[in-house]
């Protein structure tokens, strides 16, 4: 085992071990002190750049983890960075929480799962870590014991289970006779599967739940804001990306052309991009607006995925664009969540101005303002669409206007906040470091380096600038418009909950009917085969018979004698 291998193992095991150790009374204090730093091995492994591969024959069906390709590396960078920033932030933010031990247990387990699913190199382990993350995150969503958090937890769990089951179905169909299918063979296996369309559909929907694909996104604007701020950052930054990673790992990109699935992704992606904006601008809580922004941003990624699904030749380009986009989004969104948390509670005066300024930086970045990593991400996407006509490019620009609208909304909500001022130290350092890292990302992007010069190209500066300016203008022009509007967070969720309640009533009714039928059956059986009552009758009959027979006793004796005589005679 090389040092890199050990690092990869530690990246998964350390958070898990610390999470468990918090549960042990004698280790709790030490473990709580270590908890904010458990993503460090993953972070080092991500920056170090060395390849690793560890195989454990005994685990599950034979487990392999490691860093082998650029996809793993990029996701490791973003996952480790976001979790590290979130945990360092939580170290201050959660310090006064009476239930902080429980928070750290779930945060550590979730981080372990999230890092593990990035490093996993076979289908079963991927699913293992994915589930660990999914169920661990419930503890984060439901952490605050308010009615909203409880509802958010319930909604989260239902949607998460739905996703898990869709994926389970996809995976078992996929592995078929090859229980220990390695991940790098998964796209090929999907392409060759006799149930290819079904599997692709299950994968798109299953991972779509995590990635906030339209209609499946309903849990996201409810759950992300319900969690404590550092957890929101991790959920919206790293966990949402896990869904995209799933798509990249499994879908047969570059192997077969799936025009149907491609069209669906394109349509769903752009629908999400604009729907997220439309609903997001009506929200009153900046964290909810940010969650809708995530839905919208992932819409662009979904659209890019659609391009790659439809034409295999664009797959490498699309994958690179998606990777950079997701990386940029993770860091910017995490910084926005963390920044909002500070801006909402920062005291007046210069700390507040600094908080808002920092928020402005990441907001501009996310909107794709010129010279930002957001602009670079959008350039990569546009480049992908170069040969797909003007429509794609126009939609992307329109999307950038939408992103700007949402960012203006976040900033104005955060700035207008006149809430109680926190008298506690605020986690400035992790937030500012993350902000710096997000900016530094531009200096040395792990991919798409060759497009860097495009960023300073006057044409792209202009094309990045106008949607932002237009967005700001529209936001100011239309700010009265949204004032009266209020769409409940989770939008379609309300419909889902109605349908769910209706279904539950039907199922309960059916079960009740079953219970009644069963009771009736049992009662009928008891009447028919009523042993005690029958027994009485039987015994009565038997004794009457016996009584009657006893009257024939002499005859009986005579018969017996006759029998004996006859038997003797016949010898």
């Amino acid at each position: 085992m090389t040092a890199n291998d050990a690092l990869a193992v530690a990246a998964i095991v350390l958070p898990l071990a610390v999470g468990v150790a918090i549960g042990i009374r004698s280790l709790r204090e030490a473990a709580l002190a270590a908890a904010p730093w458990t993503a460090l091995p993953a972070f080092v492994a991500a920056l170090d750049g060395g390849a690793s591969s560890v195989h454990a024959d005994a685990l599950l069906f034979g487990t392999t983890i490691g860093v082998e390709d650029v996809v793993t590396r990029v996701f490791l960078v973003l996952t480790a960075t976001v979790w590290l920033a979130s945990a360092a932030y939580a170290r201050t933010y959660m310090a006064w929480d009476p239930r902080r031990a429980r928070y750290w247990v779930f945060a550590s387990i979730t981080a372990s799962g999230n890092i593990g699913l990035v490093l996993a190199q076979d289908v079963a382990s991927f699913y293992l870590f994915y589930s660990v993350m999914t169920f661990g995150a419930y503890g984060l969503v439901a952490h605050v014991s308010t009615a909203e958090a409880r509802r958010a937890g319930a909604v989260y769990l239902k949607m998460a289970l739905l996703g898990e089951m869709l994926l389970l179905a996809a995976f078992v169909i996929l592995v078929g006779a090859r229980i220990d299918l390695p991940l790098h063979e998964a796209p090929r296996a999907v392409a060759d599967s006799p149930h290819r369309d079904l599997v692709v559909g299950l994968l798109l929907a299953g991972f779509g739940v995590k990635a906030g694909a339209i209609v499946l996104h309903v849990w996201l604007p409810v759950a992300h804001p319900a969690a404590p701020t550092p957890a929101s950052a991790a959920l919206s930054g790293a966990m949402i990306a896990a869904g995209v990673l799933g798509w990249l790992r499994f879908l047969p990109l570059g192997i077969v052309a799936l025009p149907g699935a491609g069209r669906i992704c394109l349509a769903a992606g752009f629908a999400a991009a604009f729907y997220g904006v439309a609903v997001g601008v009506t929200q009153r809580d900046p964290k909810t607006v940010l969650a809708y922004s995530s839905v919208s941003q992932m819409g662009f990624v979904t659209a890019a995925l659609g391009v790659a699904l439809a034409s295999p030749s664009t797959a490498p380009l699309a994958t690179a664009a998606i990777l950079f986009y997701v990386l940029h989004h993770a860091l910017a969104k995490a910084a926005l969540f963390l920044g909002t948390g500070i801006a909402m509670t920062a005291p007046t005066g210069w700390p507040r101005r600094l908080a808002l300024a920092g928020l402005l930086v990441s907001a501009l970045d996310l909107a794709g303002a010129p010279l930002s990593s957001g602009a670079l991400a959008k350039i990569s996407l546009k480049h992908l669409a170069a040969d797909r006509g003007a429509a794609f490019g126009m939609l992307l620009s329109a999307g950038a206007i939408g992103s700007t609208l949402l960012m203006v909304r976040v900033l104005s909500l955060a700035a207008a906040r006149r809430g109680p001022v926190a008298r506690r130290p605020l986690p400035w350092v992790p937030w500012l470091l993350l902000l710096a890292l997000d900016v530094a990302l531009l200096a040395a992007p792990p991919i798409d380096r060759e497009r860097l010069e495009l960023l300073v190209d006057p044409a792209s500066v202009a094309s990045a600038a106008w949607p932002v300016l237009a967005g700001i203008a529209i936001a100011f022009a239309g700010r009265r418009l949204v004032r009266g509007l209020a769409i409940p967070p989770g939008d379609l969720l309300v419909v889902f909950e109605r349908v769910g309640a209706w279904l539950r009533a039907r199922i309960t009714g059916a079960v009740r009917a079953g219970v009644r039928a069963e009771d009736a059956l049992r009662a009928w059986l008891a009447r028919r085969v009523a042993v005690p009552r029958r027994r009485q009758t039987l015994l009565r009959e038997a004794s009457r018979l016996e009584h009657g027979l006893s009257g024939f006793a002499p005859t009986g004796v005579a018969l017996l004698v006759l029998g004996i005589v006859l038997a003797w005679a016949s010898r």
């Binding site: 549960g23 409880r150 289970l161 592995v175 006779a177 079953g514």
Partner: protein, 495 residues
């Protein structure tokens, strides 16, 4: 007769003889009784290890005793019986520890442990039976020896439950006997043989189908297939360790194990498939899986909810062994062990909660996680396992059943798996959520001792919970239930 040939008999006797001896012990001889119980359980475990080494190396141990003309009493250890024997031996030891703690200070303990040991002896007999008649004999002793355990508390409710239990299981026994008799009349002694022994009767379709229906109906009572399942939830009045044993190894499993034997070793899966009987059984199993889960959803009593969950889970075994396909076989047989470990954990937890906090209803668990963290961790792990979340035991089963179904083109099985997982989640996760994230309505009673619950109750719970994680997490190791199931499938079913 060599020493090796006596080993299977010894496995049965190690619990039969102590069981009989315990009846003569005075009620107050707690220490002697416990020593006897535990040393017998450990001795049996040692015997099982010896047999296991042999069987894994390819040996077969057989005790053959003359019984009735034309049929011997045969105890034989092959790989399938080894799996069931190991499960029973391990869980017997664990449950004995639990029962000692659970019944501490309560009356009639000698009677309880006496019958407890005899029912374990019967389970061993069921596991090791080498022909259908031997199987039947032990199957019936199992019924009779578990009855006193069900009615142990002696309350009117317990007696009623016992009546129902006897009525169902004895009627099942009659059906099983009739089926057995028909086959013996037609084919002579029915020795369990890999691939089946009824090949020459293949022409007599009607007879074979009738006998199959009788056998499965007889076994289905214990395996709680619908509509023969209604005794199981009622029998929940038994003390927790009894429920645990009934649901995890002894009674319910005996039924499922019997079905496995009938399909694989009496009829042979190919013959059964040609007769068309397996598809009917598969449909019944699928219906049971879904119906049991739905019923579990409607229960407010924790143990009753778990009981219906058993109805549902055991049918995974039946489903796995009835649909033809190697991976399905492996999944089904592995679930014999997996379900046992997870369910016994859940019942231990239910027992702990009832003992320590007086909790019986599923809505009373709010905040129980803080008062009894280890118990609730065990409960959480077992629940997640039941749903099929990796890396727990239930996941391995579902992975194999699902992949196996795809392999043979029976994709409808996947729909059943998914639906049941969702239902499992619906009736188990709210309990888990309340325990960790709810607030208790009143403060919990203070701890009675050093631990959250007596050590005799806590340790078995931890051990079985750890095992249900271990068998999943280390499924690829040589001695995991999965590996054993694969070996069985390789050797005896799909050579």
């Amino acid at each position: 007769m060599t020493l090796d040939a006596l080993l299977p008999l010894a496995v049965v006797l190690t619990s039969l003889l102590p069981g009989i001896a315990i009846f003569w012990l005075a009620e107050r001889d707690t220490r002697l009784r416990t020593t006897l119980n535990l040393s017998a359980a450990i001795a049996k475990l040692a015997l099982v290890v010896v047999i296991g080494r042999g069987v894994l190396a390819g040996e077969i141990f057989e005790t053959r005793l003359p019984f009735v003309p034309g049929a011997d009493l045969v105890l034989r250890a092959d790989s399938l019986s080894l799996l069931f024997v190991s499960l029973s031996a391990v869980l017997w030891l664990v449950t004995t520890v639990y029962a000692v703690g659970y019944l501490e200070g309560s009356p009639h303990r000698s009677r309880f442990f006496g019958f407890f040991s005899i029912s374990v002896a019967s389970t061993m007999g069921v596991a090791l039976a080498g022909n259908l008649l031997t199987f039947f004999v032990f199957y019936e002793t199992l019924t009779l020896s578990t009855y006193p355990l069900v009615v142990h508390r002696g309350t009117p409710e317990a007696v009623r439950a016992g009546d129902l239990y006897l009525r169902y299981t004895l009627s099942g026994g009659v059906l099983l006997l009739t089926g057995t008799a028909i086959l013996y009349a037609a084919a002579g002694s029915i020795e369990f043989t890999a691939g089946g022994v009824l090949g020459e009767l293949a022409g007599r379709r009607g007879l074979l189908i009738a006998a199959f229906a009788l056998l499965i109906a007889g076994l289905g009572v214990k395996a709680a297939l619908i509509p023969l399942h209604t005794w199981l939830p009622v029998a929940m009045v038994a003390p927790a360790p009894v429920s645990a044993l009934l649901h995890a190894v002894a009674v319910v499993k005996a039924g499922a194990f019997g079905i496995t034997r009938v399909i694989y070793d009496v009829y042979g899966i190919r013959l059964a498939d040609r007769l068309g009987v397996t598809s009917v059984l598969a449909v019944v199993a699928a219906a049971t899986i879904l119906y049991g889960s739905l019923k579990a959803l409607a229960q407010d009593d924790l143990k009753r909810r778990l009981a219906y969950s058993t109805v549902s889970q055991v049918s995974f075994i039946v489903l796995g062994v009835t649909v033809v396909g190697k991976l399905l076989t492996i999944g089904g047989i592995a679930h014999l062990v997996h379900q046992g470990l997870m369910k016994i954990t859940l019942f231990f937890c239910a027992g702990n909660l009832a003992e320590e906090l007086g909790i019986h209803g599923v809505r009373e668990l709010r905040g129980a996680g803080r008062r009894m963290p280890l118990t609730m961790i065990a409960f959480t792990l077992a629940s997640l396992g039941m749903i099929g979340i990796p890396p727990l035991a239930g996941f391995v089963t579902k992975w194999y059943l699902g992949a196996g179904a795809v392999e043979v083109g029976s994709s409808w099985v996947i729909a059943v798996l998914i639906a049941s997982s969702l239902l499992n989640a619906a009736y188990l996760l709210p309990i888990v959520r309340d325990a960790w994230f709810g607030e208790p309505s009143a403060p919990w009673p203070a701890r009675k001792g050093r631990f959250e619950v007596g050590l005799w109750l806590l340790l078995p719970t931890i051990v079985t919970a750890a095992a249900s994680v271990g068998v999943g997490l280390f499924a690829a190791t040589k001695l995991s239930p999965l590996a054993m199931a694969a070996l069985i499938a390789e050797r005896e079913i799909h050579p």
